[in-house]
Symmetry: C3
Subunit: 357 residues, 3 copies
């Protein structure tokens, strides 16, 4: 494969940006500013990364339109309104998006005769499509996707290699499921027998992803006891997240990696959950709740805002507690001093009283 290459002038023209420095410098790849080498294009995201500007070997840098500095010899700056978005706009020049083989039914794919697959959908190698599944237009199933019976996938959704959907899973339009995602495994529910043994509670519900949902690699979402575990439209979930049975997540919520949501939780719209957060079962959050990484949410959060800690508290209270905690060892010494001085004072006072008396 021959690498693509463009001059800085080509890229400035493509972006409608203002070029400073050498217009003839040749660009053959993209990189982040901290790693960029000669021949690469990068961008200056924000002030935080300005220190990299002096040391980067990048041949061309997308900068804010009003950026005051000048490129070094043999380097070009391209002034644009939003360097990050301009960088993304340049990506397809260097890494052309692969055009899926629309309409492919790979000869090794096993498609049940009762399944309905839209003409443009792609069913990749070794996919297994169960009875009565319905697959929309321009859906792409990468190799080894397994759909148990009666799975429905809306148009334009992409399921990466090895995704497994249990019976009756419903996936909306334009969803992206990364490799290893499991939708619809049994919820973790058991009755405890008097002898401490555990009796499985059957689950006959399903998982429903609304439109424009993205799910990260190896994330698991369990099916509901009955009815549906629901992920709201536009919600984005990172890798290795666990969503338990009967959960409902509002629209446009983002959940970072390794977070776990326990059974029957209802998260509001536009929530933002950091990584490794845990949410206890049966609670609710308001819309516009932000929960910072590693927090443990132990009760409902009915008020929008930022929360932190384990148990999670309003951000300000949690920070105040954390600061106090850092002072705790010194505090112990201060209390010991208070005790000594108080005892001394009391002894003195007792002596003086006795004297008086």
């Amino acid at each position: 494969m021959t690498s693509p290459h463009f001059t800085a002038a080509d890229i400035a023209q493509h972006l409608g940006g203002v070029l400073r420095g050498d217009p003839t410098v040749v660009i053959t790849g993209l990189n982040r500013i901290e790693d960029a080498r000669a021949g690469e294009l990068t961008f200056l995201q924000n002030a935080r990364y300005a220190r990299y500007l002096r040391q980067t070997q990048a041949s061309c840098i997308l900068v804010p339109a009003d950026f005051p500095e000048q490129p070094r010899p043999g380097q070009a700056f391209i002034g644009v309104e939003d360097p990050y978005r301009a960088f993304v706009a340049v990506m397809p020049l260097f890494v052309p998006p692969a055009e899926p083989p629309w309409g492919l039914r790979h000869p090794t794919a096993l498609i049940d005769p009762t399944a309905e697959v839209a003409p443009t959908a792609v069913v990749g190698a070794y996919c297994v499509v169960g009875p009565r599944c319905r697959i929309g237009e321009r859906v792409v199933l990468h190799p080894f996707v397994v759909l148990y019976q009666e799975v429905v996938i809306g148009e334009g959704s992409v399921l990466h290699a090895g995704v497994v959907c249990y019976p009756r899973t419903v996936i909306g339009k334009r969803c992206v499921l990364h490799a290893g995602v499991v939708l619809g495994a049994d919820g973790f529910g058991f009755w405890e027998r008097p002898d401490g043994g555990l009796e499985k509670i059957p689950h006959v519900g399903n998982v429903v992803l609304e439109d424009d949902v993205e799910i990260g690699a190896n994330t698991t979402i369990d099916r509901s006891l009955a009815g549906s575990t629901v992920i709201g439209a536009g919600t984005k979930i990172d890798n290795l997240v666990h969503i338990a049975h009967n959960v409902t997540i509002g629209e446009h919520t983002a959940i970072a990696a390794q977070t776990g949501i326990s059974g029957s939780v209802r998260l509001g719209k536009r929530n933002r959950l950091g990584g490794q957060v845990g949410v206890v079962g049966h609670i609710r959050t308001a819309d516009d709740v932000i929960i910072e990484a590693k927090s443990g949410v132990s009760k409902s959060l009915p008020v929008p805002g930022r929360y932190f800690g384990s148990p999670a508290q309003p951000h300000y209270a949690a920070l105040r507690q954390e600061a106090a905690l850092r002072q705790l060892p010194e505090l112990l010494q201060e209390i010991r001093r208070l005790r000594e001085q108080l005892d001394e004072l009391r002894a003195r006072s007792d002596a003086s009283h006795q004297q008086d008396g």
Copy 2:
């Protein structure tokens, strides 16, 4: 597919329950009380959910036999001893359990000629069954199950899509392994060389699941250095759990999602571990230990009971500490006041002594 439908009277009869309200109302599906719509059957699990009773659109509700309220017009209540269990008893009417294709050897399955597969076992599409494996009666292997050599699976166990069992894994009877489970990967053990490099310690042990074990999606259990990593009979493990090499887990223990058990740990019988718990290596727990979510267990817990926190402490001590922690910022101010007042008192006392002297 035509939806099943029954009248409230049909269901009352099926359950031997007492019907109140409209016996002719038609039920076509099941749902949880907070989501149920017209035409659906639900159940009133406990007092916590009573608030949903007024707002649910459910056409039929399973209630405790002595429940005092009456259904609305066009609604039916069915009084039963245990509404949750009655609900589960009704499930098969609406979602008939799929009968596996007993005895199937899917033509795409690759079964090593030295493997023994019981006549009734199901080997699904694209399964790979390695040399000298032994698969019991009524075992179901869903698509893409990979069994390396010498894996043994007891009768009635179900392995969902994409489960991987490394060499010599032993699975008992009636186990359920959800999609993406990996049993028997190498334990994470290394020798550190003087230069800080890491030298892999080979692992030749295996993983043993006793009877009636259930393992959640994408959970991983590593094989032992030698001998076996053992999961006791009746134990249930949720999604994305990590069980390290050389671990032994007692019978009838339950482990919630994203919990991690480090190497050589021995958990007792009937333990209950919440989600995102971490257990440090080489420790033991007694039987009947309960460890709450997000706890970090840093030493053995030889006494049955409830534990919480990081490091985990007896529940009462942990709650007491947590409550004290919440008061810490106020405490800091109180200590500052004590200091000021004490200093003032000492100054006064010094002055008075000087006066006296």
Copy 3:
């Protein structure tokens, strides 16, 4: 399969160790000391396990050369310099390493005609090797490995069942990827629209594993925005770990299970991270940093050493804080006593002043 069996004398000879006790005792298997039964060989790792020596049923025990105790009748001790390493040296006698079928192209493997596969490489059943992939000598792909386009794998690497590599992933020499690993899924990056909706930021970078890297089961490593997410040579990563986009990890670092590294982090060389650690985005660590289990790293750690806690602090400070925290409930009572006694003293002092005045 017939089990291997050796006498204690055979094993002593194999190891060049010094035999005490019964040389004729027959050994048919290996186990850890706490589980070993008659007929098994085990080893005494260190003093911690000495208590097992009295109760073990092992027929033969590898002990330090200078170990003073004597075996029981019918038992043998073999004195060696390093019992753990000697145990590992014996493993191949009992569990002979399987010789891969060098050069195999399983007839069910789908290898794109533009891919280059070295003659000795093994491509297992149902593998999918995409366009322009390059696979080195003695690489082993177990069943169901999926390589999207342009994946490069260095000689001697092993990919276990179901590993998925997204486009342009680069894997060095002698790497081991356990089952269910996903390399190169999209980084979790979104722009927030004014209405709170989330707009996906495309990622065109890749994942690079340098030589001798091992990755545990179901671990996920996301590709970079542009350039590469890099795992340094000799680094070992456990199961269910999440490594986000744009991360760089130094050489010979070890990361235990369920740890998560957020975007654009740079870990130094020879770092050691315990399980369930979380590292916030955009920070750096020095070489030789140790971070204990469950810690939350919230800022850069530029000084080598041991860290602990959430937020992570130098180990000594964290232990001191943890100890202080345990005393907190008693502290509260002490402060209440201080308050009472101080108030009493002030009242006395006020009275005495009034008396004086």
